[in-house]
Symmetry: C2
Subunit: 236 residues, 2 copies
């Protein structure tokens, strides 16, 4: 039976971390909200489920509904060989994903530092200040942490955890993609100091299933509605 992924149909957003794992796993899935009537079905599930997700994305696997992208990846990673089998390694992988969720939330807040209920234009002066902090302080701090993890991985610096691909490698790829789209200048500066992160990003992009996915219509282009948005004034 196919997985059902529920996420906003016009953006990569947080759903993209799940899509990348499903694609790399070669798992059958339906991106429900991109199907006819799918968006209405998604809203009904949020309204009516006994265990309602707070927000998309959520994944339905038979009767199980799982919200929060990091929890979805915890679930998928164990089922598709995208996480270590030992409990400590699985938890370490999840911990990295939770920190990726933190950087994603901060990237979002660069253009919405006041609140999601307002437009970017309504909070642009706040955004200019928050984006400067994010570029100058947070992007380097996060990317340096990933670089350290790669450098200290006893199995080699080609992967964040162990000797083979896990879902956090895919997620870090997506973070780098997003930062390079939204903050091309700041990302280029930070990646100069984090060559292992840059190399992992390039290696993930060359994986056959990921490469095929990125070239397909299933990959929604970055745009000005998602988490990562390119406002040149925020990348000064």
């Amino acid at each position: 039976m196919s997985y059902e992924l529920y996420y906003w149909p016009s953006i990569q957003g947080r759903g993209e971390f799940v899509r990348l794992a499903l694609e790399e796993a070669g798992a059958a899935y339906v991106d429900v909200a991109r199907e006819p009537e799918g968006l209405a079905a998604m809203m009904r599930m949020i309204d009516d489920a006994e265990r309602p997700p707070f927000a998309p994305p959520f994944l339905k696997d038979g009767e199980t509904i799982i919200g929060q992208s990091a929890a979805i990846l915890l679930y998928l990673g164990a089922r598709h060989g995208l996480a270590p089998k030992d409990p400590a390694g699985g938890l370490w992988t999840h911990q990295i994903q939770l920190t990726i969720a933190d950087v994603v939330a901060e990237a979002h807040d660069t253009h919405h530092p006041v609140g999601v209920g307002l437009t970017y234009e309504d909070q642009m002066s706040e955004a200019l200040r928050r984006a400067r902090e994010f570029r100058d302080s947070r992007i380097p701090k996060f990317l340096n942490w990933f670089e350290t993890i790669l450098a200290r991985n006893p199995a080699g610096d080609g992967h964040l955890v162990g000797r083979s691909l896990t879902y956090v490698d895919l997620s870090l790829f997506q973070v780098v993609e997003g930062l390079a789209y939204a903050f091309p200048r700041a990302a280029r500066r930070a990646l100069k100091d984090t060559p292992r992160v840059a190399a992992l990003h390039a290696a993930v992009a060359r994986r056959p299933r990921i490469e095929a996915y990125l070239g397909s219509l299933r990959r929604i282009p970055f745009n000005q509605e998602g988490i990562f948005r390119h406002y040149p004034e925020l990348d000064a």
Copy 2:
């Protein structure tokens, strides 16, 4: 052997969600950074660990180091009867905790909407706007979600998951405590519409181990350094 909890020694912060679980479990633990030389030991672990946490809190259990409060609770919940034993229930509990982590991050950002590298006074005008969004829109949205979960729990509305206490009940208690401290007026308004959340908060406060903990010196009082801070101008 005792657990070792590593967190900033002068605030409740994100460490408090872990402390509450350890206290309710009656688990032996050392709050390392509150011991002599403990803060230096914490910083050394962040600098030197093969699997370095991005930030406190982190928990050491023998050779295992776990960062991210939600991951720590996932680990502790399974070991101390503070989470359902069935995998779907465990994942649902974790999903709720991840959403609690989201509201905690948003509560923090009310006083630091631009960045953690600046003081509150340096970002007060941004804080006034963000706090208004948080009070008017986000607090009700989050508390209503918890209320819905309680109302739909097939085992009764006394707990978020199942028929007995789990770590997310403790964490929701702490969220309500924090909101009531930081935003007394807004919290009071929202809790009027979420009576099950208010009742759960009161019930957790009466649990013998929690009551003893709250009355002890181990419970650090709320203050103006933590996640939840009371600036009257942000609770207009």
